[in-house]
């Protein structure tokens, strides 16, 4: 929709251009979220696309995803040797309510920064224990673990003049075995629960619960837990919520159901891996 109060677009060329950011001036990446909600308080947008950040950079330590990388680019992430977690990237893209046409513009950083419970890039980043590089408004850099970035329904660790620069996925996570589950009130509807599980080479098991909870919840174990242990921990999660995409009691039940499915799937696949 038209953001009729916006009178300026500031194409950022260098980090110093971000100084314009503030309560009425916000960063623009793909625009798919920004242009989908009336925001009468806005006066200007700072375009991050003009910074020209490379979308995907493979490093020795893993993968660096620019905040401005689109979901379309991420969904086509080339497979690298040993990246057992590769399917999770595409799977998380499919959890976006927006169509493949929205993938063409929506960005990984925009999805994280919007911080909706159903944001699937949050699932991806938390599930892979990504670290988020934040450019603070005072010129400093800060690395925030993904699991600490989103603090609630549409709230996060960013101040008004901060910018999310990139998402760094460690190689250990890329090489981990993953499992993914999503459910909504309709087959491809806006997510009611999105869960992702990961087993690292050292046996560490991490379950990430999103979309059903007001903020992402991560459960971490040194090895695959027994079913009742995992169920007990999921049941103890305290931030299930109700909206048009599902009632809290159902979401909790789906968390339990899908969490156990993930545990069972990873138990089977790591079993096979250890046998072969």
């Amino acid at each position: 929709m038209d953001l009729s109060t916006v009178t300026r677009i500031i194409p950022a060329r260098t980090r110093s251009d971000l100084i314009a950011l503030g309560p009425t001036v916000v960063p623009l990446a793909g625009g798919s979220e920004l242009f989908a909600d009336p925001r009468a308080h806005l006066r200007a947008l700072v375009d991050l696309q003009t910074l020209g950040w490379p979308a995907l950079t493979i490093t020795e330590d893993g993968l660096e995803i620019a905040a401005t990388c689109t979901l379309a680019e991420l969904s086509r992430l080339p497979m690298q040797a040993g990246w057992a977690a590769h399917p999770l990237f595409y799977q998380c893209c499919t959890a976006l309510f927006g169509s493949f046409k929205v993938w063409n513009v929506a960005t990984v950083g925009g999805n994280l920064a919007t911080s909706l419970p159903a944001g699937p890039m949050i699932t991806l980043a938390v599930a892979l224990d990504a670290e988020l590089l934040v450019w603070r408004g005072d010129g400093s850099d800060e690395v925030v673990p993904a699991r600490q970035f989103v603090t609630g329904n549409m709230t996060n660790a960013l101040a008004a003049n901060d910018v999310l620069r990139s998402i760094r996925v460690p190689l250990t996570s890329l090489q981990a075995t993953t499992a993914y589950r999503k459910i909504a009130l309709s087959p491809l509807g806006r997510s009611g629960a999105v869960l992702a599980g990961r087993v690292d080479a050292d046996g560490v098991f991490v379950l990430t619960v999103t979309a059903a909870t007001l903020r992402p919840v991560q459960l971490r174990y040194s090895e695959l837990p027994a079913a009742d242990v995992l169920a007990g921990d999921i049941a103890a999660i305290d931030c299930w919520f109700t909206d048009a995409h599902g009632a809290a009691d159902w979401r909790r039940a789906m968390g339990l159901l899908l969490g156990e499915e993930i545990r069972a799937e990873l138990a089977a696949s790591t079993d096979v891996a250890s046998q072969s």
């Binding site: 038209d2 798919s32 242009f35 947008l45 169509s99 046409k101 513009v105 309709s186 491809l188």
Partner: protein
């Protein structure tokens, strides 16, 4: 400097469909608005949030939703719209397939749909011409919403296949026709396309090639010089009085032409609901009211150079409110001491049952003796049901453009009822009918939502006050928050029967929440309790129904007009009864449904205007039962949580609204030898223009390509009550048939006069008339008539005084996942008693579309309130309209019947298709899981809670 000028960014240059464009977009403008400013009206505005896909364009070959794409990023890009893919006479293959498959009804979603389909095709990793990634179509099309078709025909269009009406599983490879031995009553429908067009064939939509290329104009697809825009300040309170309103700052904003408030409002009370008789609805509404009765109700409006300025000025309005107590629970609305929503109204003047009890309308009546009937029963079932608020979600929102032509008011509006709007605008603003023209372009969907006067009054006021052309367009959020929704109802049903399955008593209680205004409240309540109850031959019946005011957003007309809600409860109760009696549910209907000769009874015998003009319910029951028994080979999902069940439900509907529905049509032979049909009714995806052309072509022994149509314009056509109550074929169509038949006789006489020999009979043919080996062409006859000052026009009226009955039966086989609450439809069957089927493919489309909308109601959709009158589902991503993946292919079977009233024996078949679906699904879910769902929608969380809560 105005707000707009300040917001401009630099001039950008880009290409649209190969043509270079230079423009200066506003900084925060989206690409959709920029393209429409360039008069690329093929780019539609459906949701404004990237959810519906109607605005899809390709940017350098990449498809995007242009409503969420910043306009300034168009710089240097090549943009392709639907009109750039192909144009009439030179369509792209994918566009042609949408025409051939009847892959649209209203067509508002279609330009975005074909641009998306073309992109998918271009990106297909298959052989050229092969099916483009069919398995992935649900994901690829999830961002393209169609409210009309149910997607089967769209899937066929994209993939180039043709799914026969009985479903692909019943097709013997290499043969697409029905299996006559198995489906003797089924009419093979063939597919749409370039058929010559007599009734009974699947003629393609008249506007097809323009629709698929985006060149068929809708309401706002027109450039008007000097157009002003209107924005509304909505009430932040559910019940309040305006204590003061200061518009000084708003009026002073550059670009503002006028602020309109309750001081400008006519004092005449009216209803936004429109009917043939204006006395059908209570007069309880003002253009602007100093009392605000729901959140979002108009407080004031600003007319300005742009929407942006008008909205900015609305934010500058200073309003002081006096808050009033509010009532939100319809159960409490009638209680002593409850806040009164319209306590100020005179019950006689406003036609309200009792405004001191928030009561708009009520019906209490008994036929026979229900207590005695229940005493006689060996089995009694009783239950309570609840239905929800539904948003019509026609993809074209409500909108009007108004202007003065000399001193004459013109309203171009998105309405199902232009003639009724004209009448009421004249009454409100004290104008003569000759001074007001109301017309529509093609209307982008309605479903009852446009049987309301929601934008025309405000535009009229703005035009009269400013003298300038003014546009008012609802946003999608307006549609979800202030446009009337389907009446939510609480329903209580008690049934009694003897051991052999004969009904002895039927008792119905209805409480409808009509919200803050009574538009359609009496009609929905009375109609809802009518054919639903009259369908069953029961000696003892009792109805207690009330429709009450609350401070919730208003309810209004919705496809089915109350029947859907009440049929849901009665058909579920009947299913429960069948279970208790151990009688098959089809058999229970056969035992108790009315048959020709039976009285039609609600609380008394219906008047003589309602007759069995034909009867196909018995066939509908047989066809549905046979199809369900036959199955369709669908694989039941594996695993312990899945349970399978079947269910069915019936419905009946009168083919015409009660108390008169009038239409006048004329048919004229024009110079050049073409026929012109003038008829007042509106095309909004219901297909009436196609059927009217077929009727005229048939009566005049010609083909549809000789027929031109002018419709839905108070200047250009005779009076028509409007396109509601499924009257487009049975009333307006009948008028067209009468006029065309009369013209055929006139032409024969004219040919005789022209030849000078009165004793020869001239027979009409495709291009002329023939007698004794001599042919006079239509062109020659028209020229002769012009030369001799003879007008070759015939005009006829139809008053809808007699009404017939149509029937639909739906059946489902479902699998329910007891762990998640998911309902998966394995087989969906609808059988329809449509009388003679005028256009099989189109009628099938109406049925599929009705089923689709009903499945949205049954499974997904709900306008949610916070308990204090505020809607929380304000955008489409929070209000789930069915996507392609959500809907099964429904098997469609027609009964063979021939109605004595309808043209060529046809009956209405638009609203009625919606009504039996939700109860059939609920009954199937009950069969699967052993627990009866009683609330709509049967969402996964609700089904899960039935099992685990």
């Amino acid at each position: 400097m105005t707000l707009e000028q300040a917001a401009m960014v630099a001039t950008v240059t880009f290409e649209v469909n190969g043509t270079r464009v230079e423009a200066t977009p506003a900084a925060g403008q989206c690409l959709r608005t920029l393209l429409r400013e360039q008069e690329h009206f093929e780019v539609k505005k459906g949701c404004d949030t990237g959810d519906c896909g109607a605005c899809t364009v390709q940017v350098d070959g990449t498809p995007v939703h242009s409503c969420i794409y910043p306009a300034y990023r168009a710089a240097g890009k090549q943009i392709t719209t639907a009109a750039g893919l192909g144009q009439p006479g030179n369509l792209a293959p994918v566009q042609q397939r949408f025409v051939d498959s009847a892959g649209f009804q209203c067509g508002f979603c279609t330009p975005g749909m074909v641009v998306t389909a073309a992109a998918i095709e271009a990106d297909a990793d298959t052989e050229p011409g092969a099916v483009p990634r069919l398995h992935d179509l649900p994901r690829l099309l999830k961002g393209n919403l169609c409210r009309c078709t149910g997607y089967r025909s769209i899937t066929d269009a994209i993939t180039g296949q043709h799914t026969p009406p009985e479903g692909s599983c019943h097709v013997v490879p290499g043969r697409e026709q029905s299996d006559a031995s198995m489906l003797g009553r089924v009419r093979a429908t063939g597919r749409a396309g370039q058929a010559v067009g007599p009734v009974g064939t699947s003629s393609g939509a008249i506007a097809g090639e323009r629709v698929v290329s985006g060149l068929e104009p809708y309401t706002l697809d027109v450039a008007i010089p000097g157009l002003l825009h209107l924005a509304v300040l909505g009430s932040p309170h559910a019940h309040a009085r305006i204590r003061s309103l200061d518009s000084t700052r708003a009026a002073a904003l550059p670009g503002v032409h006028r602020v309109l408030t309750h001081a400008d409002s006519p004092a005449t009370l009216f209803s936004t609901a429109r009917h043939e008789s204006r006395f059908d609805d209570p007069d309880d509404t003002l253009v602007f009211d100093a009392t605000l009765r729901f959140r979002g109700q108009r407080v004031a409006a600003v007319v300005a150079d742009s929407v942006a300025i008008a909205e900015a000025a609305c934010r500058l309005l200073e309003v002081e409110y006096e808050l009033l107590d509010a009532v939100f629970d319809p159960q409490l609305a009638g209680a002593p001491g409850a806040p009164l929503v319209h306590g100020d109204k005179d019950p006689v003047v406003s036609r309200l049952a009792d405004p001191r009890r928030n009561l708009v309308a009520e019906l209490h009546g008994e036929y026979g003796n229900v207590e005695a009937g229940l005493a006689e029963a060996t089995t009694i079932v009783s239950g309570s049901w609840q239905t929800q608020r539904i948003s019509h979600t026609h993809l074209e929102t409500h909108a009007t453009i108004g202007w003065l032509d000399q001193s004459r008011l013109n309203l171009r509006t998105s309405s199902q009822v232009p003639f009724l709007v004209q009448k009421e605008i004249c009454r409100l603003f004290d104008l003569e009918p000759a001074d007001v023209r109301v017309f529509t372009a093609r209307v982008g969907g309605g479903f009852g939502g446009k049987q309301e006067l929601l934008t025309e009054d405000l535009v009229t006021l703005a035009v009269l006050k400013t003298g300038r052309p003014v546009q008012y367009e609802f946003t999608r959020t307006d549609e979800l928050t202030i446009a009337p929704v389907r009446h939510p109802m609480t329903l209580d049903v008690t049934l009694g029967a003897t051991a052999d399955g004969r009904l002895t008593a039927l008792k119905l209680g209805v409480l409808a929440d009509t919200g803050a205004y009574g538009n359609h409240a009496p009609g929905v309540m009375f109609h809802g309790t009518s054919e639903s109850v009259a369908l069953y031959h029961v000696p003892n019946k009792q109805v207690n129904a009330q429709s009450v005011y609350t401070n919730n957003p208003p309810s209004g007309a919705f496809r089915g007009y109350g029947l859907g809600q009440i049929i849901f409860a009665i058909e579920c109760a009947l299913d429960e009864l069948a279970r208790k009696l151990h009688v098959d549910p089809f058999e229970l209907r056969r035992l108790n449904s009315v048959r020709p000769g039976d009285p039609l009874v609600v609380t008394h015998e219906e008047g003589p205007d309602l007759i069995f003009g034909s009867y196909g319910l018995d066939q509908c029951l047989d066809l549905a039962e046979a199809a369900l028994k036959r199955g369709n080979g669908a694989v039941v999902p594996a695993g312990p949580p899945w349970r399978v069940g079947t269910g069915m439900a019936s419905s009946m509907i009168a083919t015409t609204p009660p108390r008169g529905h009038r239409s006048q049509a004329s048919v004229q032979l024009l110079a050049g030898g073409r026929y012109l049909v003038r008829v007042g009714t509106t095309e909004f995806g219901n297909g009436t223009t196609t059927v009217h052309a077929q009727i005229a072509a048939t009566a005049l022994h010609t083909t549809v390509d000789r027929i031109d149509l002018v419709h839905s314009d108070t200047d250009a056509a005779g009076y028509d009550s409007g396109a509601f109550g499924s009257a487009g074929v049975v009333v307006a169509g009948k008028a067209v048939l009468a006029a065309a038949t009369a013209l055929a006789e006139t032409l024969s006489s004219a040919a005789a006069s022209r030849s000078g020999s009165a004793d020869v009979t001239w027979q009409l043919e495709r291009d002329g008339l023939r007698a004794a080996g001599t042919v006079v062409s239509l062109d020659e006859l028209a020229s002769w008539a012009t030369a001799n000052d003879i007008d070759l026009t015939a005009t006829r009226r139809e008053d809808g005084a007699l009404r017939s009955l149509a029937f639909n039966v739906h059946a489902f086989r479902v699998a329910v996942n007891t762990d998640t609450g998911e309902v998966r439809i394995l087989q969906s069957i609808q059988t329809a008693d449509a009388g003679f089927v005028m256009n099989p493919e189109q009628c099938r489309g109406q049925i599929e579309g009705g089923v689709a909308q009903a499945l949205g109601t049954a499974l997904f959709e709900e306008v949610l309130l916070d308990g204090a009158g505020a809607v929380t589902t304000r955008v489409l991503r929070n209000y789930h309209v069915p996507q392609l993946v959500d809907l099964p292919v429904t098997e469609v079977y027609f009964a063979q019947s021939h109605d004595v009233l309808g043209p060529y024996g046809a009956k209405s078949m638009s609203e009625s298709t919606y009504n039996p679906v939700a109860p059939a699904l609920a009954n199937a879910v009950r069969d699967a899981i052993g627990i009866r769902p009683t609330e709509l929608p049967m969402s996964r969380d609700r089904i899960w809670r039935l099992l685990h809560g």
